[in-house]
Symmetry: C2
Subunit: 422 residues, 2 copies
Amino acid sequence: MGRKKQIIIIGGGFAGLNAAKSLRKADADVTIIDRLNHHLFQPLLYQIAAAALSPANIASPLREVLRSQKNAYVVMKDVVSINKEGRKVTASDGTSYDYDYLIVAPGASHAYFGHDEWEKFAPGLKTIEDAITIREKILTAFENAEVCPDPELEKAFMRFVIVGGGPTGVELAGAIAEIATKSLSKDFRHINPAQSEILLIEGCSQVLPSYPKKLADSAHKDLEKLGVKVMTDTFVTDIKENGIYIGEKFIPTATIIWAAGNQASPLLKTLDAALDKQGRVIVGKDLTIPDYPDIFVIGDAAHVLNSKGEILPGIAPVAIQQGRYVAKIILKGSEPLKRKPFSYFDKGMMATIGSGKAVAAMGKIQISGFFAWLAWGLIHIFYLIGFQNRTFVLLHWFYLYLVGTRQVRLITRFENLKDKRQ
Amino acid sequence: MGRKKQIIIIGGGFAGLNAAKSLRKADADVTIIDRLNHHLFQPLLYQIAAAALSPANIASPLREVLRSQKNAYVVMKDVVSINKEGRKVTASDGTSYDYDYLIVAPGASHAYFGHDEWEKFAPGLKTIEDAITIREKILTAFENAEVCPDPELEKAFMRFVIVGGGPTGVELAGAIAEIATKSLSKDFRHINPAQSEILLIEGCSQVLPSYPKKLADSAHKDLEKLGVKVMTDTFVTDIKENGIYIGEKFIPTATIIWAAGNQASPLLKTLDAALDKQGRVIVGKDLTIPDYPDIFVIGDAAHVLNSKGEILPGIAPVAIQQGRYVAKIILKGSEPLKRKPFSYFDKGMMATIGSGKAVAAMGKIQISGFFAWLAWGLIHIFYLIGFQNRTFVLLHWFYLYLVGTRQVRLITRFENLKDKRQ
């Protein structure tokens, strides 16, 4: 019995998990290494921050997803380096894993344009823990406003600033507006949550910068209808614990959420390959790095151009297609020169702005409003992993949109909050 | 317009919340002060630790529960002292609240019999954060066992020790046994979770010490059928990071859960009243402290005797009845000497041992097995707050008991775990 080929996949996100699943017929051991135990459906992560869904609704244990795939192994470890010459990766506990094929899909994290000190005051949204932190920040701000004796400070507690007008920023701003005007409207005695001020700050001249202008304008209008103040062409110059600077102007606030910049995983530096400004690996047409046809980099970690010469965005459909593409190459065992180049089939993109409103661009079709929102809901439910998650998300949405309650309005971390309140 | 009477309630647990709700017709301001924003249905907390339910399923924001009660106010603060002479309570941020009536219901926390250093290695189960910590410890132990090269260490990872054989300990032991033998049975490639060793350590001569011997024996047998090793008359002498001492004997394990001792809130010390060994206030027949007929202490914070001279247990029915009793006295405005003494109407007690098994004692009726479990499920669903929580819990149970999956198998806190794994 010969030694089985070893395929190592770093990261259980959309890219890594889809590669693993597409390798189910490979005559090889397929090992996914991730530092957490679950696959996260990131497109709905903002709904955890917005107290609409529970973490378990959009996360599935990798082991459970791959349970019946006999050649799949799951390892919960943190890979800290890749040794191209030795053909192995090493985890933080010192364990090494040899590979024949390596699929690198560690994703990206938020970046603060060289101002890492801002992170403490303006958390980003990438993991479940991030989402819970943001949820508790929002809910705690209302609680603090309710008992605040100083009217100016009360205003600061009821001001929410979101930095970054991409899909995450837009969806969060819409959700916070709905929390204030709908979910909490009758729950306080001293404050009126509907008087909250929600600012969405974007450096470009439109929100959703990568969307067609018509849709961006539509989203802009819908946000304003919800009460969000949209500030385009605006740059943050500094972030402090109690507020944010726009040029010289200081805006006091207790809640700042960062949805502005991404930086690919620092693990990629150990690959010793060319990186772009965001730390993504510049890969070839077959998604490998130069001279190493057995090392693939995919998902948010990869810098890939489409046929028009634009960089592919860090969204789920790109990651999924790349995962499947790489699996196909490995299954075929094609020689590097004979590999068909990766090409992205653009299914479009969509973002919601509160309940009942969304924008969607699919090829030449651009829609906005209720039907875009319905399409958004159906597509997200469809792509969720597991029948049970679908059941629970649907039920949560039913209660949210029809009955009007947010199920998950919990502040659970007393120890974390204590320091800030004292 | 005269100043309204101020009723301050410290704590939004079963005791405090039921007092507040029963005061809905009081011509007074009723203010609940709690350091977190939600009421927690503690009898099902172990199911969060056991990855069966999400936190939001058994927790409801106090504001939402009291939304339509016009005279009710909710304040999220941490009360740190009570001034009996000045008739006010003070929160950690320095704010004071005057009261005409004070209801003290801050609950209890776990206690380590003078060994506070054990807490780090053997977390207890009182809050949602505690439950998530325990869930992550259990799931991480299996993950670590799966990748462990040392067979002895692997055994230690697959050994789970629960200290304390009361209802919480029994229910947790049963749930962990089911996680190992059912939920995870097909998810690992190197280990067989069914070979896990689950130890339940109890100092008394029977598990469920406060239950009739017949039921305790039945629970004992059911636990053993599930694969739990029950050790009665056994005392823990020391707890270390990597194991537990029983006398001189060291048992290596990565997961120790503390379900043994309770200590009432340290806030009670500021009352300057007589406390029992567990720090509970020894109250009079009307649940007030001597010489202060306007200060009531209820729930897990109170030391109250029943007609047989036994201390009432720290369970939900006692807290609920005390909350309602105190509200009635305040509503009537009865003079201290004319108050009817509190008497507990004992509806019985029940505990589950895995799915399909439970024990219940209701007066002279003692049942065990499937029908006790059905009764347990119905009663818990009935007492849950909110139709939505009931819907979601039922659906989770449906998937757990009929389909066999645990929805909430998440390890989310990479930063917390990292240190321990390196």
